[in-house]
Symmetry: C2
Subunit: 202 residues, 2 copies
DNA sequence: AAAAAGTTAGAACATTTGTTTGCGTTTTTG
DNA sequence: CAAAAACGCAAACAAATGTTCTAACTTTTT
């Protein structure tokens, strides 16, 4: 049996190569890197990795290998949401962010910039970006992004969600702030559940 | 002048194609998608985009186009660091994580899992992953990862860094905890400065 | 309307690159 | 130890794909 380390080395190389160049290596590139003297050997290696399910490969195409584990998810940043005073989430499409798929998977993810201090006790600070999983309902204790229009103000906000005695409670994680208590039928819309957070100290 | 919209459509297509397949399209793939009847035309388009700096392309190579904006950085997760009791950072290489290059750039980045509550007031919670920029010095107020060996205990820890009166102060951001005060020559080693944070609510 | 510039097409060409075959060499197996 | 399997190599082949050329067509300019 061929030394498995070598196969994983190859996998690493393919990954590195893709990162650096934006496209996969050829069989001959692999030869050079791995000090393999024949393209047939490299070709073999590739097929092993394919059988092991670690590599995708389309036959007869040039540079058509790709590492199975796509290690990042592209998630759109769609605007800012205020955690304090509810202001309408600006639906600015602000480009895509790559997040590690080891942490975040599935469809319907998006990012929102957080403005305000209302979730500070939950470790969500002003300026953080939250990763939101799109869903229209939530369970008690979830941190959610919710939109409401109670006639006075409207907008999106980040709060911890509770359903209590037929009412919806949006609870800011900040000792100095009050809960929002709303009727079920008051037009509260859950946009999604907060599943992650990204912060960068400038 | 050729309709620019069409060029941007092409750029979008290349992006989409790469996302879906893990490798870039060929000139002929582009023809099909854009309803272009000649490879020469598609070839032209590619060169325009290259001149505009929106596309990288290596000559004579197959599938060797790549969209300029490389949107993610690969950062290794190298272990766990305790924010409370200093325990040695397990140098487990735990694979690479993709982080958005819009937020994190440059070399010498790594990730550490945080254990403990000592930085809770700075919004760094137990289980968070911190993004660390490798550097051997720090400025007052920086949050750093530091190693020390004072004879009693040794290990790595996350603390806010101050240099005061010839001593080094490692300040936990947790009201219930004490500062570590160390001599300059006591063998404190700054591993890096915390520049970001990644959290995923399980 | 004529000329010029820009754009597309079709075909041929040049190269890169995936794939196959057969033969030594090494390692495992009985 | 012999047979078999696994492995690696070189060379040749075939296909995919980048590149170039010239002519036709379209739009803009004079």
């Amino acid at each position: 049996m061929l030394n498995k380390t070598r196969l994983y080395d190859l996998l690493d190389f393919i990954n590195r190569y893709c990162d650096e160049n934006g496209f996969p290596p050829t069989v001959r590139d692999i030869c050079k890197e791995m000090s393999i003297k024949s393209t047939a050997t490299a070709y073999d290696y590739i097929n092993r990795l394919k059988e092991m399910g670690l590599l995708n490969k389309t036959e007869n195409k040039k540079r058509a290998v790709s590492v199975t584990r796509s290690d990042s998810v592209r998630v759109p940043l769609i605007g800012t949401v205020t955690a304090g005073q509810p202001i309408f989430a600006t639906e600015n499409y602000d480009g895509y962010y790559a997040l590690p798929s080891a942490e975040f998977r599935g469809d319907g993810l998006f990012l929102l910039r957080v403005q305000g201090e209302s979730m500070i006790d939950a470790g969500i600070f002003d300026g953080d970006k939250i990763v939101v999983q799109k869903q229209s309902d939530a369970e008690n204790g979830d941190i959610v992004v919710a939109m409401f229009d109670d006639g006075i103000s409207e907008g999106a906000t980040v709060k911890r969600f509770y359903r209590r005695e037929g009412k919806i409670v949006l609870h800011p994680e900040n000792a100095t702030m009050q809960d929002f208590v709303l009727e079920e039928e008051s037009g509260v819309v859950i946009l999604g559940k907060v599943v992650g957070l990204l912060r960068s100290f400038s």
